[in-house]
């Protein structure tokens, strides 16, 4: 059934379709509507899940850790400061190998206080061992939630699904709603190998000596590596079953492109409109959306970008003292394999609009400005 719903509610419907058993969350703008609708679904019995209200995000994720360790499918959603408060448990979920799915609605980090979008909150968690998937439409958001559970439970790592505040979270689009009965054959009930069980007691979270800790970390990275194929295969299986696939990266008109714009999140859609516009004017331009940020798709990125003459990476984030984070990642994917010039652009922080005009100015600068700094160019700074 198709419905016109906001991005946040697309998340809720994705969770509903996934037969989640425990949801624990603490409200924070711009995420609140996700768990608001979920709590209503639980109250009405549309979703047979336990909704645990807590006093902080730290507790929300901790409750998910407990429930997941006890062997059930769990979900939480947060944003910005909430995600940062979860940071300790973000690591824990990985070390305990718990397939939790978390939605982070990208919101700029304070101070100064902001509720609008940028990616620094989720990207600051990039080294924790969570998979990260960035969405650009409401339909993709719903579908990615369902995929995320399947991926997480295959590799026993938690997955973070990320969407832009307001540009996606509060924007209404048509979504083909997935029903739990449709999804069940694709995503069977979660059956963990080990779980906390009163009738079969084991100790969890024990002290690991230097003799074991190293290997347990190694196994996390091996799982992350293995997840590359899983992410791709799950998306393919989803596409076969439901007719919608999203890929690991999404190249657009890149085959003969002399310049490619690298984007993520909702900027990707805007960039495609700019590509079409400039293609109409005879400019050989394409765009590449990076959907999977962790594990980083080195090979897919290389395959697309190695054939072009120039790369412009648009970052809605900044690693202070370094560069845009996607820029760093793209650069490391190409390092030593090609000499194509890569230029980094920072824009849209704190929810400032990234309009077609902004993206076009980036493309034109990248093509024409011989004096551009390769690493970090701030677009639209008024100082």
């Amino acid at each position: 059934m198709k419905k016109v719903i906001m991005g946040n509610h697309a998340v809720s419907y994705g969770v509903r379709a996934s037969d989640v058993k425990v949801i624990s969350a603490y409200p924070i703008t711009p995420q609140t509507q996700i768990v608001e609708l979920l709590s209503e679904m639980c109250a009405k019995g549309e979703l047979e899940a336990k909704f645990i209200a807590v006093e902080s995000e730290h507790s929300a994720l901790t409750a998910c850790v407990g429930a997941s360790a006890a062997g059930v499918r769990t979900f939480t959603a947060t944003s910005s400061q909430g995600l940062l408060l979860m940071h300790e448990i973000i690591h824990w979920a990985v070390g305990a190998r718990l397939p939790i799915v978390l939605v982070n609605v990208n919101r700029a980090v304070g101070p100064p206080w902001s509720i609008w979008t940028d990616q620094n909150d989720s990207l600051s968690q990039r080294d924790t061992g969570w998979l990260q998937l960035y969405c650009e439409s409401n339909q993709e958001t719903q579908d990615t939630i369902v995929q995320a559970f399947k991926i997480a439970e295959s590799v026993m790592l938690p997955v973070m699904v990320v969407l832009d505040a307001f540009f996606l979270s509060h924007t209404f689009e048509i979504v083909d709603i997935l029903e739990p009965e449709q999804v069940r054959p694709f995503l069977p009930p979660y059956k963990p190998k080990n779980r906390i069980d009163v009738d079969d007691p084991h100790a969890f979270g024990n002290l690991a000596s230097p003799g074991e800790y190293f290997e347990l970390r190694y196994m996390i990275e091996k799982a992350m590596e293995a997840s590359r194929d899983v992410v791709r295969d799950v998306d393919r299986e989803f596409e076969q079953r439901f007719g919608r696939g999203y890929g690991v990266v999404k190249p657009y008109r890149c085959d003969d492109a002399e310049i490619i714009l690298v984007t993520s999140g909702t900027v990707a859609s805007t960039a495609r409109a700019v590509v079409d516009e400039m293609r109409g004017e005879g400019v050989k331009i394409g765009s590449l959306k990076i959907r999977v940020f962790r594990p980083f798709p080195f090979e897919e990125v290389y395959q697309v970008l190695s054939k072009t003459k120039k790369v412009a990476v648009i970052d809605r984030n900044i690693s202070f003292g370094h560069h845009g984070i996607f820029y760093q990642e793209v650069k490391s994917a190409l390092y030593g394999r090609t000499n194509v010039p890569i230029i980094g652009y920072i824009t849209g922080l704190g929810g400032r609009d990234v309009t077609p005009r902004v993206i076009r100015s980036i493309a034109e600068k990248a093509m024409n400005d011989r004096n551009a700094e390769p690493d970090i160019n701030w677009i639209g700074v008024k100082i």
């Binding site: 190998r97 100790a203 969890f204 002290l207 290997e215 799982a223």
Partner: protein, 559 residues
Amino acid sequence: MGEKITFKSFKEMPLCAMSIADMTYNFTGSWRNVRPYYDFKVSPCRLGCPAAEDIQRYIYLATQGDFEQAWKAIIESNPMPSVTGRVCFHPCMEKCTRKDYDQAINIPAVERAIGDMGLDNPKWIKKARATKKEKIAVIGGGPAGLSCAFYLARAGYPVTIFEAAAALGGMLRWGIPEYRLPNELLDRVVQSILESGPITVKTGTALGTDVALDMLEKEYAAVFVGVGLTRSRAMGVAGEEGPGVEHGLEFLRRVNGGEKVDPGKSVVVVGGGNTAMDVARCARRAGSEVTVVYRRTMNEMPAIADEIEEAEKEGVFFHFLAAPKTITRGGSGRVTVVFQQMKLGQPDESGRRRPVPDGDKTFTMEVDKLFTAIGEEGDAASFGKAVETDGALIRTKGAFGETLKAKIFAGGDIVTGAASVVEAIAAGRKAAERIGRMLSKQPEPAAEEPRTISIENINTAYFSKAKRTLPPRISVEAALEGFREIHAGFDEELLGRETARCFSCGVCNFCDNCWVFCPDVAVKRLDDQYEFNYDYCKGCLVCVTECPRSAISTREEGR
């Protein structure tokens, strides 16, 4: 201890740090230096109740929808919750812990609702058969006598109640107006008590005239005297005998007997107790303008606060710090009363400040009727020489109504002086229990100092603020039209709302918190209780903190 497990390769490792072996061999309880244990206290409300009703328990049972057991829990201490739920001065609410959080639980309304359910479900009570041969005489069919008879009959003793009036109930019937306690309801309460066991009733049989105490002492294995206070106290004021002046209790007797009374246009009531309030409000219902004159101030009034408030709502005027000095009569049939103005002096033995004349200040009122309601006293002559008296009261020793005569017990107002229904009920029950132990030669139970809790012991994080639930009531205008009850009873919804507010102080109500929060799964949940598994309890005491009601105590290990 399990065997050591050696991995042949790292591939055999689990994904996360966990023990492969079963860990039950590791008795982590040995780490404990403090032990939690379930330790139920006595709720403050129960300590506040003269009849020691297990209020926490019946409220808990009501929250579970088990009204039959809730009713039985009350009946253990009080055979007439329908009565006390209406007329008690509810000292329990003064002790209610919730009072220190938002508002005390509306205990009387809960008690009344459950009590009325008992009347509607006569099958809840099983009639006791006479299993004992010793016959007991109970003199007086008021709350003390009915209570004593009920508990003796339940224990299997054949009881005979001697009542001076034509019907049982005592002050409940003759002293309390119908808008507080309907006669029809009282009839049902009395009936339920009489049907509970082997009780015989002799009405119209007054002590001292129709039967003598020393005769009953010989005929019966034990005698309980609960005759109450039957005589209105005189004011000792010149002119108080004569037309236009009536004892308040006599007036109430006429009103409660169904007589159509007409006290006149203007009425003054002298006194500050419940009788004064009852008289004033009955006179208002007869259409009179009523002024209550009390020699102290409102703060010292012994009447139940709610009754004073209702009287004010019904348009009763109050005049404080005045006492009648002389009463004279003119030809018009009205009485002229000169009042001495008073002021408060030093506290007396009751702790209240004693009223003393304020110089020679006086004022005069001319009224159609003056009612005296300054207290009642006993009829010492009716006892003969069978018991020792203290003024017009019977002297007792101990807590169970024992008089100086082994076979004679006494309780209620005739022992305490004017007190309350619930204290009379408590006295009747305690005497019944003592008589039972005496006749069956059972030892007296050891008195234990009860342990209770206060608001500091409640984890208030678990309770939202919620105002006391009030039952629906009729308007003041409707109230003044007749003798309808002011308040309706709780329906099940209101009952549920109010019982849900109870903290269940110091007593487990199976909230599951200890079971949920124990990080070591060392709390076992059995059918009707929890149990600590001390093999694994590390003594972290999370259960103690998270128990909202202090039903868990701790003690150091090795002590």
